[in-house]
């Protein structure tokens, strides 16, 4: 099958983040995925981009974040990069009683829970998420 892909390059502003998520919401239905997978891809893309802009680029409008989404035969590969000083991937557990009512700290938790594979290249500020899906040619 032909690869379907989406590539975005955005400045580190909330408006561009918002627009990027809207573009994803327009693009994902063209992949003919089930509702659950569609939702997970869009949600985790928003989490990854938010992390890139907020924690990586620290809202510096001169720095950009990129998103590349490629649909392979049996998987969706989502890559997000930023221009920060390295990804700090925590193992914080927001389910701990004392953190339950924290107003932050759940983005990475969602990615760990909802993506099928997670790869972090801390030095190169690159995050890869993989979602498994049923091969379309079956």
């Amino acid at each position: 099958m032909d690869q379907k892909r989406l590539e975005l390059n955005i400045a580190s502003t909330f408006d561009e983040l918002d627009l990027a998520v809207e573009q994803l919401q327009d693009f994902i239905p063209t992949l003919d995925l089930d509702d659950d997978l569609s939702y997970r891809v869009i949600l985790l893309a928003s989490e990854a981009l938010t992390n890139a802009i907020e924690h990586g680029n620290k809202w510096d409008e001169n720095k950009h974040a990129t998103l590349r989404l490629v649909m392979q035969e049996d998987r969706i590969e989502l890559t997000v990069t930023d221009q920060g000083e390295g990804i700090h991937w925590t193992q914080e557990d927001p389910l701990e009683e004392k953190k339950r009512l924290a107003d932050h700290g759940r983005g990475q938790f969602f990615m760990r829970k909802m993506a099928d594979e997670v790869y972090i290249d801390e030095e190169n500020c690159r995050l890869d998420l993989v979602f498994h899906c049923i091969p379309q040619n079956l």
Binding site: V21, Y39, S46, E47, T50, F110
Partner: protein, 114 residues
């Protein structure tokens, strides 16, 4: 995200629409919560029926608002969370923290029952 504020059933109903991901409108949302507290309007229902995506920033916005209202002696309760948003509340164990209902009316009337 945008939102509207209405008063019904002796409660304030805030209806969120679109993608709830933090940002400038989350600040406006918190300002609205602060105004409600100043006015002594502490029975707050947040209707989620028209929310498309709520990510961790949006969830953080709701938690801040709920904590703020509870600290003032009131509560913030949810109405009509879609199944996907409910599942976020489940995996974060926030489902036990937020009271949630199938309609604005049920949510609002729960204040008089409590």
């Amino acid at each position: 995200m945008n939102f509207s504020v209405d008063e019904q059933y002796n409660a304030v109903i805030i209806t969120l629409k679109g993608n709830v991901m933090g940002g400038p409108n989350a600040v406006k949302f918190q300002e609205t919560i602060n105004s409600l507290k100043e006015d002594g309007k502490l029975n707050v229902v947040v209707n989620l029926a028209r929310v498309n995506i709520m990510n961790s920033s949006g969830l953080g916005m709701l938690i801040s608002a709920m904590t703020s209202i509870r600290n003032a002696g009131g509560d913030l309760r949810l109405s009509k969370p879609a199944s996907k948003i409910k599942s976020l509340l489940v995996i974060t164990k926030l489902i036990t923290v937020f009271e949630h209902f199938d309609s604005d009316q049920e949510a609002a009337e729960s204040f008089s029952a409590s």
